[in-house]
């Protein structure tokens, strides 16, 4: 299993994670549905997880995989609270369009 380190260079894993992260950034910047923005944030978190596991495997150090568990725990807590907030917003303004939220100033 560990022959992979001789064949696939570390660079290519970093490029894969960067591309996934940037796709998440594009999703956050270009979509207006609050739930899809949340999903793009999850995609960014997962790309960072993949990078952590990659460095853990290349360094032969299990600490990186422990960090992944903590990232997952924080992401799960974040999703629970975030979706509750989105549900509450939908109950008040009957939309998940983030541009509608700017009207809450008035």
């Amino acid at each position: 299993m560990s022959q992979i380190f001789q064949t696939v260079p570390l660079n290519h894993f970093i490029y894969l994670c960067s591309i996934l992260f940037v796709i998440g950034v594009i999703g956050v910047l270009t979509r207006r549905n609050a739930i899809i923005i949340f999903m793009s944030v999850e995609l960014m978190l997962n790309s960072v997880n993949l990078l952590l596991v990659t460095f853990s495997a290349y360094r032969h150090d299990p600490s990186g995989q422990i960090f992944v568990f903590f990232v997952m725990a924080v992401a799960a807590a974040e999703v629970a609270v975030g979706l509750a907030i989105i549900t509450m917003i939908y109950r008040n303004i009957h939309s998940v369009d983030i541009n509608e939220l700017s009207r809450m100033k008035d």
Binding site: L20, R32, N46
Partner: protein, 191 residues
């Protein structure tokens, strides 16, 4: 063999990730995100030799978090018809800004000296097994583990408080009924 498997998985994962942000229907977005997570988990299990993280990723992300997303999307009754649309200017601007971010990351990775990371001379014992990870988690990282439990408690209480209807709102009647009553009164005043 493993090399081609890596490139295949990378291509599939990126394809599904692009589909997540381009799909019109939010439910399709959620399902494509589940497939993206499966691609990342396959990377963990087959390529990176970390089977436990891969299985936990499937259970927690594809199993729990995405079901929560799917449940909220269906509860709010979102579909492609009421999907808000952004102007093309915003889309092009966002894509250009993110493309520049990718350019900066790739340029800095090219400059970096990554050879020092790659020390495969160490022992060949697998590090992704439950035994090794459990030993490390419950010895070196026991304090963050306990703090995470407090975080979960706070998140649970917060979600329950946020998701609950207000007591005043419950006693008067649910909020969506109010526009109907006002329209009824408007109808009745001309009479």
């Amino acid at each position: 063999m493993l090399t081609s498997a890596f490139y295949f998985l990378a291509f599939v994962t990126i394809f599904f990730a692009v589909m997540v942000i381009t799909a019109k229907n939010p439910i399709h977005s959620v399902l494509y995100l589940v497939l993206t997570f499966f691609g990342i988990s396959a990377n963990y299990i087959f390529i990176l030799d970390a089977p436990f993280v891969g299985i936990v990723n499937i259970i927690v992300y594809a199993g729990a978090i995405m079901v929560l997303f799917l449940y909220v999307v269906m509860m709010l009754n979102l579909n492609a018809d009421i999907e808000p649309k952004k102007s093309n200017l915003f889309k092009v601007g966002g894509a250009i800004a993110a493309g520049m971010l990718l350019l900066i990351i790739v340029a800095s990775v090219k400059q970096a000296n990554l050879q020092i990371v790659n020390n495969k001379m160490m022992t060949q014992t697998p590090i992704g097994s439950i035994k090794v990870l459990g030993t490390v988690l419950y010895t070196d990282y026991i304090l963050p583990f306990e703090v995470a439990s407090i975080l979960f408690l706070i998140a649970m209480v917060g979600a329950v408080i946020l998701g609950r209807r207000d007591r005043a709102e419950l006693s008067v009647g649910s909020q969506p009924l109010n526009p109907k009553t006002t329209s009824n009164s408007k109808l009745q005043t001309p009479n």
